[in-house]
């Protein structure tokens, strides 16, 4: 047996790795292949541990039911209607939050890879580091789309009117764009923090006040002055209002631009930081 393996090893040693280029350049086809292999890995994680999908499935169900039935009546009145009015208000708001969950998932996943030494393995392989990132983003994107679909189903069940399908798609896209920008923040946390729990806890600490201090859950008109000012500048308000405009109608342009501007700004600042931290992580 050992003689046989010896023979194959010596002859195949040169030909084993196909797409070698003398300058070490990795062709696009290889990048796609690597990303594909890593996506498969992340999907296998879900198959191995289906509970990891719970948050994606349960978050939209729990939040929609909770907010619509607990706060829906009273907040709805201030919107000039009732529970039905609040449904139209909250569903686009929750829609806007989907991208943030995606961002958080990417950060936590990266942190786990670093801590288990798997990242060392990847880094010692002739693959672009971007492949690891793109694979993670793709899978988290998929999780986000599933969560969004569930949100829309629950939304419709509690009375949400989908009037504008292209608008709905645009809102999903916008949420993903903003989520991708936030992702750099979570990537930085994922590389810097010691464990996945810290990343989640930190994300929670940062996102919670931003989410509730925005127009996602309730219209800011009834808030005290200082908080109203905060919500006005809070990018999550712009995102939620833009999603609302796109999905149920109303003014869109200003909030849309604000959201895109924030996304570009956050990316411009945080992407270099995250990439630097990633490169210098030992």
């Amino acid at each position: 047996m050992s003689a046989a393996t010896t023979a194959t090893t010596t002859t195949a040693a040169v030909t084993a790795v196909t797409d070698v280029r003398a300058d070490g350049h990795i062709p696009l086809r290889s990048h796609l292949r690597h990303t594909g292999a890593l996506i498969r890995r992340n999907l296998l994680w879900i198959r191995q541990d289906p509970e990891s999908m719970f948050d994606a499935v349960l978050f939209p169900v729990v939040f929609t039911l909770l907010f619509v039935y607990v706060f829906g009546g009273s907040i709805g009145q201030s919107l000039g209607g009732g529970q039905e009015a609040y449904v139209q208000y909250i569903v686009p708001g929750l829609m806007a939050m989907m991208g943030m969950n995606m961002a958080q998932g990417v950060g936590t996943g990266f942190n786990q890879d670093f801590n288990t030494g798997v990242m060392d393995r990847f880094r010692s392989l002739p693959i672009g580091r971007g492949s690891v990132l793109f694979a993670k983003i793709s899978v988290e994107m998929m999780r986000m789309l599933i969560a969004t679909a569930i949100l829309m189903i629950v939304g419709v069940l509690v009375g949400f009117d989908i009037t504008d399908w292209p608008g709905l798609l645009a809102a999903v896209g916008l949420s993903a764009v903003f989520g991708s920008a936030l992702m750099w923040v979570f990537l930085t946390l994922g590389v810097v923090m010691k464990n996945a729990q810290s990343v989640q806890a930190m994300g929670f600490l940062v996102l919670m006040p931003l989410q509730f201090g925005s127009s996602i859950f309730a219209p800011p008109q009834s808030m005290p002055g200082w908080l109203r000012t905060f919500t006005e500048y809070n990018p999550l308000s712009a995102l939620a209002d833009a999603a609302r405009g796109l999905m149920v109608g109303g003014p869109v342009a200003h909030d849309l631009w604000m959201t895109l501007a924030w996304s570009v700004g956050i990316t411009a600042v945080m992407a270099p930081v995250a990439i630097h931290k990633f490169r210098t992580k030992t």
Binding site: S2, T10, A13, G24, A37, R40, G117, P126
Partner: protein, 360 residues
């Protein structure tokens, strides 16, 4: 499966066995790994402080040193995970700084902490790495099957690696390193934390890889491991090389075995040391006094020397309470080479000091 007797301390047979890989083909045996003046600083800490190292193709180089000596830093630089502060290193002719991508195609790395994806089954781990190395699907599948078979993991192929035992995980890690048929393999403390039986399994695998012509750079804290696997040895301490050479040469320096003699009367310790030194037994290395344990350490190279020492003790009429031979522990190697103990305290010296009773 032939298990080499680990207790045959001091024998040179193992060294000879490891050398087999050198003669694998007609190619001129060049340098597989070449390190010149390698420096890595973390702020004030000098993890590596000017390391030179040369590993010839098809040989096993053991890098021996205590915790914190810089072994892992060295491996991480050579496998492009870490950039050096200064100095120069090539692996298979590729520069670690300028040609990392080419370099990564020809190396395999097995870290101190098994770096397989625990959530994935063994087979999926290997298949994924095959794909990441650009093997076509069919070939990646075949390679995963082949390596699982070879590392006796076929039955566990579909189970998540998290359910594997320590030895199985380490074997999977080795298999993962072999997917791309690397010409240079880095093993960073491959058996740390393994029980003796599992350690033997890993050693057996490493020997087979060497038989295939792979060049291996292995770091270890155990003299015994270095002796079992390596043909050449580099001893490092505090980021510097303190000794290097063929394992036989180093053993001649540190003594192949150490004869530990404990006089019944501790006061006779020093006079006995002086007497032995004065005796002038041919080629006998300098003795050392281990006053903590009230014994004398005499490095001996041959059975004749050992007999002569025992004879001298008897001639001086010294009563002994204990006598044994030991394979030198890392600490003792350090003591002989540098005159001081290894910089970090060793928590598992027992692994290196399998005592062997000697009939007096």
């Amino acid at each position: 499966m032939s298990v080499v007797c680990r207790w045959s301390v001091g024998g040179l047979s193992v060294g000879a066995e490891s050398v087999v890989g050198m003669t694998r083909n007609d190619k001129e045996p060049g340098s597989a790994v070449s390190v010149r003046g390698l420096v890595k600083h973390y702020g004030e800490t000098k993890a590596l402080d000017g390391v030179d190292l040369e590993v010839r193709e098809g040989t096993v180089m053991g890098v021996l040193g205590p915790n914190g000596a810089g072994k892992t830093t060295l491996v991480r630089i050579l496998s492009t995970l870490l950039a050096p502060t200064a100095g120069h290193a090539t692996v298979a002719g590729y520069d670690v700084v300028r040609e990392p991508r080419q370099l990564r195609r020809v190396i395999g790395l097995t870290g101190q902490y098994a770096s397989v994806d625990e959530k994935l089954p063994g087979w999926e781990n290997l298949y994924m790495i095959g794909r990441l190395l650009d093997l076509p699907r069919k070939e990646a599948r075949a390679r995963a099957d082949e390596l699982l078979e070879r590392f006796s993991l076929t039955e566990a192929a579909r189970r998540p690696a998290a359910t594997y035992s320590g030895g199985m995980r380490r074997r999977l890690d080795l298999a993962a390193s072999m997917i791309g048929r690397p010409s240079v393999l880095f093993l960073d403390e491959p058996t740390t934390g393994l029980d003796p039986r599992t350690r033997n399994e890993v050693w057996e695998e490493v020997r087979r890889l060497v038989g295939d012509g792979v060049t291996v750079l292995l770091t270890t804290q155990y003299m015994e491991e270095a002796e079992q696997l390596a043909s050449e040895l580099t001893v490092v301490d505090r980021g510097q090389v303190i000794a290097s050479g063929r394992i036989e040469q180093l053993k001649a320096k540190v003594g192949g075995r150490t004869l530990r003699i404990r006089p019944a009367d501790p006061l006779r310790l020093r006079p006995l040391a002086e007497a032995l030194d004065a005796l002038g037994i041919t080629g006998l290395a300098t003795t050392a006094v281990d006053s903590e344990r009230g014994s004398l350490l005499v490095p001996v190279l041959s059975d004749e020397q050992l007999t002569a020492v025992v004879g001298a003790v008897t001639a001086h009429g010294i009563t002994l309470s204990a006598i044994s031979t030991e394979l030198p522990s890392l600490d003792e190697v350090f003591l002989s080479l540098t005159g001081h103990r290894a910089s970090a305290p060793q928590d598992a010296p027992a692994a290196d000091a399998h005592e062997e009773a000697v009939a007096v």
